[in-house]
Amino acid sequence: MSTSDYAEPRRYGPNAFGDDLRRFVSLTYTLASTDFKLTYFNSILGYFWSLMRPLLFFGVLYFVFTNIFHVGSGVPDYSVELLLAIILWTFFVQATTGCVQSMLAREGLLRKMRFPRLVVPLAVTLTALFQLATNLVPIFVLALASGITPTLAWLELIPVIALLAILASGIGMLLSVLYVRARDIQPIWDVISQLLFYASPIIYPVFYYNHSTTSYAAKGCVFNSTRDVYLNVYGKVCQASSAPVGNNLHLHFIGHFLMTNPIAALIAQARHALVGGGLGANPSANFALGGWEYAMIPVGIILVVFALGVVVFRHEAPRISENL
């Protein structure tokens, strides 16, 4: 019996954070690592199965967008860019959709034990992060195979992934507690994430709308073909690059506006870091947005979403087990 436990009587009732940071961390890590182990070691082909989904997705998209729609054919290292974006996106989707039903999945624990409730969605995000780490391996393999030389800029992936994880856990916190109250959060989030998928430069290269439209057009707009029905927003913007200057101010705004989507900005930055390529198809996020001050917008969105997640979660945490 440890005497230290007697020092302070504890106020009872479930909450989001608990009162012991070490326990919080070790619990999150254990839940995440056991889940990770389950997906990896439960079947003989565990690792390959977990890679299969993003890789298969990559294979299909690569085939479609290089051989049928020719979106990627004009872009150097399109395959690396596509794979990188898909794997980052897979992480985001895995973390957020995993959070939606996470409380229900941990119902047994929630209904009988006192532990910080925040552990549940964070463990889901951490599991997805473990998975992302293993999924990065084929990216590096493909990048090296494509003749890209490793540079220090690759390290930029770390803060990019960190920001993406913060965004995912913020959204995850929101979704996990909202689901407890409203079960149709599940299909709603499915739809929203589909929208986000197409609104982010995953299957197409990062669009950037430079201040000088002519210079952009000269760099070879990949959307000069109207076949790209899927990509109508960007396609239209691109086509309009030869339109009168009066229109351009308007389009300029849309292009920048779409880049304020944090996922778009992070994917842009990740591509810029991994593949490089100056002002070509891989502008850095702040270049695509039009300056550092604008790059603060997606970063701000990430932090606001995270803060909102924390606040809402904190408010809902005490009643999760009875509302489930």
Binding site: M1, S2, T3, S4, D5, Y6, A7, P9, R10, R11, Y12, G13, P14, R22, R23, S26, L27, T30, L31, T34, K37, L38, N42, G108, L109, L110, R111, K112, M113, R114, F115, A182, R183, D184, I185, I188, P318, R319, S321, E322
Partner: protein, 420 residues
């Protein structure tokens, strides 16, 4: 009470040396029962103006109690009386709406044992995970792992996934984890119904051992026998309120009164005249009842309190020396006691036509707490086989108080031990 660890906080004012291990002050917990619960945003959007009416279920209502370190404290009450909710509030699963709750030391809940396990994980992983959730560090969890498995007697199934465990095995495992985490306060919610007899015995032995070590145990059960055997003090909850606290035997008695008080109302509604034969008989059994020493008709009585069975008979023709029979059966339908005037009274004499007679049978009330029904019969003189009228289960009495033994009757007895 053996306290192995002194509190590091100063003694509470008022001269008491030890702070209570569990302190509950005016705790209340209500659940909203929505008349129409919306589970989706769609429903909410479709019915934006529908009033969100709900009933408030006061599950725990202003309960205050201090439980000392080392106390074995029983909580009893009928289904839905709030005992489990109170325990869950203490376990930190539900927050309370009002009042205060403090638990000193590490707490280990024995609630819905085995529910928190992940069936895809092995016993090994589940034990570590559960121990961490209960508040152990990873190192502590590993150190206790062997003793947990040994207590559960599952050494041979360590690396088996829990989906292949029998329910008894996983409950045993959960119990072992909960008991081996070195908790200072144990919350036990009716978990002793699980496991085989030898494991149950082992659990009780373990509780006793923990009690002698100064651990505090809160114990929720319906088993009045266990309450009286193990608890130092007990509390009775009814509709969320504490209605009795103190000596376990007395609280258990109150519980029986409450519990059977409800049964009495139910039983009185159930009395129907169904198997009454309509054809003419020489005599009819009109009524039968139980009464106490004062002659008042009763539906419940304490064990060992004087009990009388009354039977009223109307004679349609004159009869000489009919024999009256009384049979008392328990809820299982087994005859607990049967007698006739033939056996223990003798000739009953002459009864004129059109007269009504009342028979009284005084009993030593050695029944164990349960519900009993009386069957009355009247037969012609002789061996009692020529039945004139027989009416089954005419009246019911609930016997409360006393000890819960596994026996049907609680005979007066005394022990004597001679040593050679």
């Amino acid at each position: 009470m053996t306290i192995t660890t002194a509190p590091s906080t100063p003694a509470a004012p008022g001269g008491r040396g030890l702070l209570p291990a569990v302190s509950i002050q005016g705790a209340s917990k209500a659940f909203k029962l929505h008349h129409r619960q919306y589970h989706t945003l769609k429903e909410r959007a479709l019915h934006p103006f529908q009033a969100r009416t709900y009933d408030l279920l006061q599950a725990v209502d202003n309960v205050s109690v201090d439980i000392a370190q080392g106390e074995f404290f029983g909580i009893i009450g009928r289904n839905g009386s709030g005992k489990s909710t109170l325990l869950k509030c203490l376990a930190g699963i539900y927050g309370i709406d009002a009042g205060e709750m403090d638990v000193r030391g590490r707490l280990s809940p024995f609630i819905e044992l085995g529910v928190g396990f992940n069936v895809d994980l092995t016993a090994r992983d589940n034990v570590i995970l559960n121990a961490l959730v209960l508040g152990l560090t990873r190192k502590e969890a590993r150190a206790r792992f062997d003793s947990i498995i040994a207590f559960a007697e599952l050494e041979d199934f360590l690396d088996m996934r829990l989906k292949n465990y029998s329910s008894g095995m996983s409950v045993r495992l959960a119990f072992s984890v909960a008991i081996q985490v070195d908790a200072d306060v144990l919350l036990i919610d009716e978990v002793l119904a699980v496991g085989d007899a030898s494991f149950q015995q082992k659990c009780f032995d373990e509780f006793r051992r923990l009690k002698t070590e100064g651990r505090t145990i809160l114990f929720v059960t319906h088993d009045m026998g266990a309450i009286q055997r193990f608890c130092d003090r007990a509390m009775l909850l009814e509709k969320g309120r504490m209605v009795a606290i103190g000596d376990p035997a007395q609280v258990a008695h109150r519980y029986n009164e409450l519990n059977f008080g409800r049964t009495i109302h139910e039983l009185s509604d159930e009395r129907v005249d169904d198997d009454r034969r309509t054809d003419y008989r020489d005599a009819d059994i009109v009524d039968a009842w139980f009464e106490d020493a004062t002659g008042a008709r009763i539906a419940a009585i304490g064990n060992r309190e004087a009990l009388t069975v009354g039977v009223q008979v109307r004679f349609n023709t004159a009869l000489d020396d009919p024999s009256f029979g009384v049979t008392i059966r328990n809820t299982a339908g087994a005859t607990v006691f049967a007698t006739t005037t033939e056996w223990s009274f003798g000739p009953t004499g002459h009864f004129a036509a059109g007269k009504v007679a009342t028979l009284k049978l005084r009993l030593e009330n050695w029944f164990t707490p349960s519900s009993y029904a009386v069957t009355a019969s009247i037969a012609r003189a002789g061996l009692g086989s020529d039945t004139i009228d027989l009416r089954a289960d005419l009246a019911t009495v609930v016997i409360h108080g006393g000890r819960f033994t596994t026996g049907v009757v609680d005979l007066p007895h005394s022990f004597e031990i001679e040593r050679q």
